[in-house]
């Protein structure tokens, strides 16, 4: 490891393992925080419970601008899948789909706006960058407990023998299960409303087959977000992304809705894969991996305390995910970077109190869109929960309307419009539609 020399020195000096910064978790947030801290000359340790990249899963789409803010021109050497040139939204009905898409040559110009990625390949590269910057990355080590002294965080206890590590500031990037954040009392109990459960498969297909099926070149990729029948009427969504020689396909459902069905996560995904609009796209492919991960949905409503004496919280652990827009990795990287900058400033001042670290919260508002986006979307998930018609009735209605208008059957267009209106009123009363519509206006 690049930083062996400094770590040994740290141990000799005080007889115990001391660093300038402890980062808990080696995912997008943790490795960004470790890299930025180390570059500033801080003696940094990043503790990860798995091997690098081994325990992380994502859809996944990586956004260029946030990633480049920590790893400039990363696309030249990072193991990425395909640059995204086309993004699609499909509303699936049992035997049909309404498709909306946007494709632009501009997306492919350097640098591409986003890439599809596989975390088990990408994270080891992030870890390499952090180590090159001088951080000590310690894998296969779990932080069991955060150590405090009169309410101030002073370090962590790992599962290793004599496994205590000390630092004046600890940056918690522990991911979607906020064990340590809760231990510190910075986050409350997680309930069914706060999370969604996603299941994913990575399916192998030859690159040429992917390119033919999705009308892309060797250096181009496509994303498809799948609403409607992808989740069998439950609140959630599916997705399909093209990688180099695999497809990422998955489906997620809000936990508070998932408990209302007996369909297992595995079967929910098989159901999506068998959908007539989806099956041809993955035909002949071989499943290479099956995984499952939660996505934090609590957002603004369930934001933990983001800072305390000697501690900052980043990424999924901090609920910094805007699921409506498929954004989590960007907020993780941004928050890791801003936590690092806050830690650097704290070291310069020699002050790690809440009051100094509060600047992290302001940075998350002012310097990046993270908190302002989360606040804007805070009621987004309540709407479909209160107006379940958007999950099935309206997509079905849209399908009915599309089919009616596109079918030439001898009826006049006026007659067709009448049929659609009649169908609409049968499916959802005028009062129901008014209620849905007026409440939707409040979302804007």
């Amino acid at each position: 490891m690049a930083n062996q020399g400094r770590a040994e020195t740290a141990q000799e000096v005080s007889g115990r393992l001391e660093f300038d910064v402890i980062v808990v978790g080696g995912g997008c947030a943790g490795l960004a925080a470790a890299t930025v801290c180390a570059r500033a000359g801080l003696n940094t340790i990043c503790i990860e419970r798995g091997k690098p990249g081994g325990k992380n899963v994502m859809g996944g789409v990586l956004y260029t601008q946030p990633t480049a803010s920590v790893y400039p021109e990363f696309w030249r050497e990072a193991p990425l899948e395909r640059p995204v040139v086309e993004q699609n939204l499909w509303i699936l009905l049992p035997d049909s789909a309404i498709k909306l898409g946007y494709r632009s040559q501009q997306f492919a110009q350097e640098p591409p706006n986003a890439f599809t990625v596989l975390r088990a390949r990408l994270d080891p590269w992030f870890a390499k960058k952090a180590a090159e910057a001088g951080a000590l990355i310690v894998p296969n080590t779990k932080v069991e407990e955060v150590l405090t002294d009169k309410g101030r965080v002073i370090g962590v206890r790992t599962g290793r023998p004599e496994g205590e590590v000390y630092a004046p500031i600890t940056i918690i990037c522990e991911g979607v299960n906020p064990q340590l954040t809760q231990q510190l009392g910075m986050q409350g109990e997680i309930s069914l409303e706060d999370m969604s459960s996603t299941t994913k498969e990575v399916i192998a297909l030859p690159p040429q087959v992917i390119q033919d099926r999705f009308h892309i070149g060797p250096d181009e990729g496509v994303t498809i977000e799948l609403f409607g029948d992808s989740t069998a009427g439950l609140l959630g969504m599916g997705w399909l992304y093209t990688n180099r020689d695999t497809i990422s396909i998955g489906v997620g459902v809000a936990l508070h809705d998932y408990v209302n069905t007996d369909i297992t996560p595995h079967d929910m995904l098989q159901r999506l894969k068998a959908h007539p609009m989806i099956a041809p796209l993955i035909e002949g492919g071989e499943v290479r991996e099956y995984s499952s991960h939660m996505i934090p949905e609590g957002g603004w409503r369930k934001l933990p305390q983001l800072y305390g004496d000697g501690v900052l919280v980043c990424g999924d652990a901090a609920m910094l995910v805007n699921a409506v827009h498929r954004e989590g990795s960007n907020h993780a990287i941004w928050s890791g970077k801003l936590a690092a900058e806050t830690a650097i400033e704290a070291h310069q001042k020699g002050d790690f109190s809440r009051r100094t670290l509060a600047s992290y919260y302001h940075r998350l508002f002012k310097e990046v869109p993270t908190l302002s986006d989360l606040r804007k979307y805070r009621t987004a998930m309540e709407y479909p929960t209160r107006h379940r018609a958007v999950l099935s009735v309206y997509p079905e209605l849209a399908g009915y309307a599309a089919r009616e208008m596109m079918t030439v059957d001898g009826a006049s267009k006026r007659e067709k419009e009448f049929r659609i209106l009649r169908q609409a009123l049968r499916a959802r009363s005028i009062f129901g539609m008014a209620y849905d519509g007026l409440d939707a206006l409040r979302l804007l």
Partner: protein
């Protein structure tokens, strides 16, 4: 277990610890639990009802964390496996 699922879990790399990282606090609570959502909500079929006990096949766990949240009685003592143990993804 669902055969398709068993085959897929076989694709994952597991370092299986000697002891389970998932512990049922009180089996009696499970006996009285009507819905047992842990069984169907788990993506890896870790939980199953065998006779009068909830069995925990922790070696299949993909460490998502859903079970502890859906359990209506907070009856699962949940933690991640020890450092270096548990599942590893090859793609992610």
């Amino acid at each position: 277990m669902n055969e398709g699922l068993a085959d897929k879990l076989y694709l994952l790399k597991y370092e299986v610890d000697e002891e389970s990282h998932l512990v049922i606090k009180d089996q009696k609570t499970c006996r009285d639990c009507e819905r047992k959502p842990c069984i169907n909500r788990c993506p890896a079929e870790v939980y199953s009802w065998e006779g009068d006990r909830l069995q925990v096949a922790y070696e299949n766990c993909v460490e998502c964390g859903v079970c502890k949240i859906v359990c209506p009685y907070e009856n699962i003592d949940w933690r991640y496996p020890r450092g270096g143990f548990g599942v590893s993804f090859k793609f992610g």
